[in-house]
Amino acid sequence: MKYRVMVVDDSKITYSQVKKMLQDSDYEVVSHCRTGEEALAVYEVVQPDVVTMDIVLPGMDGLDAAKLIRERWPQACIVMASSLAYDNTIDAAVAIGAAGFLFKPFKKEGLLEALRSAIAKKAASNSPEDEV
């Protein structure tokens, strides 16, 4: 069974490229949202295994949308994506509990690695603690 991916990006190019990169992989794109507000509404219905979230979005930005999703669904697994590749942005992503960061333009290997790592982190945080 494939992991279900929700792509949040106002660019149809990113959605189309992610979909293509994930063909024949363990992941499938099940939803594309173009705004943070849409992502909040759709997440509740789709409940994806992992979300890729662009930072620069019309209206609510991706960091705010990710923070709100994580507040409502603490188990949400979100990989932030942006062409802004410096410490402040990455720090902000870490602060809201993002599971990873993708730099645009990304390549297939980078995308797959980011998704694998995010899913693995989610699985590790969901594991029951060892009994003493």
Binding site: S16, V56, S83, Y86, K104
Partner: protein
């Protein structure tokens, strides 16, 4: 504002040129060369992006329709992209260029900024002559398409006690 490293009036255009060439080549398989002179005619379409944060600025890319059309053909992998797809391709390209430019400025100066979703429009709506003082870089592609990259001068550079000031003009 104390900068980690000084920047000069020449550094930014050189960086912009390098990024234009690298991003277009790696991402869209389009080669461009910077022209030493200005274009006789300004290309008819444009895409703009506003920058804000520790400094305000804007970047505009003017281009021939055939350039943006070809960009969309490559990025959407289709021979006949729609007008909406042409605009999407232009906006996403400027999105990536701007992000890399801001990141490079941060790496050198420690000054952070962010940008906003880009806009696509016709040159007649924002002709270059109406733009405030800034840098203008002219390019020609491998298929003789013309481009003009404009960015407002908004960053102040310091070299020790001297100030190599690029005027602060703010965004449009």
């Amino acid at each position: 504002m104390r900068l980690e490293q000084p920047i000069t009036a020449q550094w930014l255009p050189k960086l912009a040129e390098q990024l234009m060439r690298n991003v277009l080549k790696d991402w869209a398989e389009i080669e461009v060369l910077r022209l030493s002179g200005a274009l006789s005619e300004i290309p008819p379409l444009a895409v703009s992006i506003k920058i804000g944060g520790a400094y305000d600025s804007c970047i505009l890319l003017y281009g021939d329709h055939s350039f943006f059309f070809r960009l969309a053909q490559t990025l959407f992998e289709c021979s006949e992209p729609t007008q909406e797809e042409v605009e999407e391709a232009a906006k996403e390209f400027l999105n990536i260029l701007c992000g890399q430019l801001i990141s490079a400025i941060y790496d050198k100066t420690g000054i952070p900024a962010r940008f906003y979703p880009p806009c696509f429009f016709e040159t007649a709506d924002v002709p270059p002559a109406d733009l405030q003082k800034g840098q203008r870089l002219y390019f020609c592609s491998d298929r003789h398409e013309h481009l003009l990259l404009y960015f407002a001068d908004t960053i102040i550079a310091r070299k020790g006690d001297d100030t190599d000031e690029i005027p602060c003009n703010g965004s449009r």
